[in-house]
Symmetry: C2
Subunit: 305 residues, 2 copies
DNA sequence: AGGGCGCTCCGTACGGTGTACGCAACGGGC
DNA sequence: GCCCGTTGCGTACACCGTACGGAGCGCCCT
């Protein structure tokens, strides 16, 4: 989808590229654009803004917007994000986290955040570009609130375990975080960098008979992370379901059991039948614990073999 | 939230419970309810329907709805679901799967399915109760399309691995399935029962020095499943992002790299810096392979210890 | 001093979602 | 021929993210 302001920006950008507008020339002013394209001030502003971000033009207050000398180098960017970041981004992010912690990601909407803060909905967009950026900022706070233990333990195994446990407690406190993270498209989350580094570094200390190449170490680190997250993504749905059915897990189990037992014909499915029949103490936490222990055992076999 | 028809059903249900309406009595007809409560036919029908499902009343064509002799036993239920299931549920589910396979769960909407089938949106609700039930039906088809290998291998390890691989190929073909599954609130999915059973059964054959209790075996089975799913949930986002940015993974990596490298100060984060600097061959598939091998190694240590 | 400029602020509105409910027509039993 | 339960679809609601509109502010140059 190309939006109106993107079209206008592309238009003017082409005129700069063609040489019709030379360095030092003033590009059409916001009001000029308003008249020419039949759009609103804000839209025109946004178009010029886009050109600025690309470093093609430079805004001069009270004067106009001019084509820059050599494209690509612009001090504006940091300035802008600086002034944007200053006042209340933190309030917004904090409010969003409070909602997400309580009601999960499905309950988190821009309108809801705004209501909680007593602000108009659209005013949030002065502080965050969009929902995804907000989520990234929330993740950043999670990382910041759950730093790694400072002197990390010494051996590779203790180190890896410490990293995994840090993630786990973070996910327990903020179940939505597991969902919000993406491996395949890593967001750049400042406070998360240290965690990634520590995970990677853990396997440097491995007592391998042969040296481990970077690729192998990456595999071990990422796999461990994926496991932790894989267990953690189940926390949020459990909470959500508990909340909007008003049933505790136990109540729910009791209600869900009859059809499950009905499906589990003891003749055809003996193990399942026995499993549903007995009261088992299986929680996400106990699953995390067994999985972590087994996985690291497996790493040990691999590393010392 | 209690809907209108639920309120009416509760109302009449109370009158039956109180004895005001005795077995054999006719409860208010649909049109009576329409008049009394000021609602539409369909709403009244739905209220009576709810009472039927609970087995409190029985509908007699051309006569009316009467209170049943002994509550709880009603042949209606199977009849109804039978007639509902007959015509085109399968078409709906198949169409939904085609969309989900192609565009992921976010692209799957009731309107979209209806459009593809050339049907009015609301007509879908004759075949499935709601979106969640549709998802369960889709999952069922996935299980059905990916049965376990028929003579399962003999040893516990080969068996567990076979199960894990079956899940993995299913997830690769239908990435959305990983998201749609829930452990904490297991849906009853007919064709999935066999998979669950096989997973549990695998650890029966373990050559444990001491006998394994059911709880431990459950932990091993569920943890393995959680790992596979934990890796698989990443497939869909990767596909979705590739689709709506139009970038291949490689293109995207190239675009994402500069800011990542900028964040990875080699002095502070040497491993991360080296990782981002080199071309690594890490795919979800390779992560699955290492993880599976390591985890089962870990199981082996645990089981033979 | 005044006019033009970039810019900030927030409100309105669009295109999407799932699905509750309304309305009209159908066919069977009395 | 009446009243019954039933079917089939359309309309409308409450929600979502956010693009765009329009008014007003304060800076800068002439």
């Amino acid at each position: 989808m190309t939006t109106t302001f993107e079209r206008i920006a592309a238009d003017i950008g082409a005129r700069i590229a063609s040489g019709e507008l030379a360095p030092g020339d003033r590009v059409p002013s916001t009001r000029r654009i308003v008249a020419d394209y039949g759009v609103a001030m804000a839209t025109a502003t946004r178009a010029l803004d886009a050109l600025q971000r690309r470093g093609l033009v430079e805004a001069r207050r009270g004067v106009g917007t001019v084509v820059v000398e050599q494209p690509g180098r612009s001090a504006r960017d940091s300035l802008r994000s600086g002034s944007r970041t200053a006042p209340t981004v933190d309030d917004v992010v904090r409010a969003a986290m409070a909602i997400a912690d309580e009601e999960g990601l499905p309950g988190l909407s821009m309108r809801r955040i705004a209501t909680d803060l007593g602000l108009p909905t659209m005013s949030l967009y002065r502080h965050v570009a969009n929902r995804d950026e907000l989520l990234a900022a929330m993740l950043d706070r999670v990382y910041a609130a759950h730093p790694l233990p400072d002197p990390l333990p010494d051996g590779w195994r203790d180190r890896a375990e410490a990293c995994a446990r840090t993630f786990w407690t973070a996910f327990q406190r903020h179940p939505w975080a597991a969902h919000a993270m993406s491996i395949t498209r890593p967001q750049v989350v400042p406070h998360g960098v240290a965690h990634t580094e520590a995970m990677l570094a853990a396997f440097d200390r491995a007592p391998a008979s042969r040296p481990l190449d970077l690729e192998t170490r990456m595999h071990l680190a990422v796999t461990l992370f994926l496991f932790v997250r894989g267990v953690a993504v189940n926390i949020e749905p459990a909470l959500a379901a508990r909340q909007d059915t008003g049933l505790s897990d136990e109540d729910w189990m009791n209600r869900a059991k009859p059809p499950l037992q009905a499906a589990a014909d003891p003749r055809q499915y003996p193990h399942l039948a026995r499993a549903t029949a007995s009261e088992l103490d299986i929680t996400l936490d106990s699953l995390f614990e067994t999985g972590l222990a087994r996985l690291l055992d497996g790493y040990e076999v691999f590393l010392t073999r």
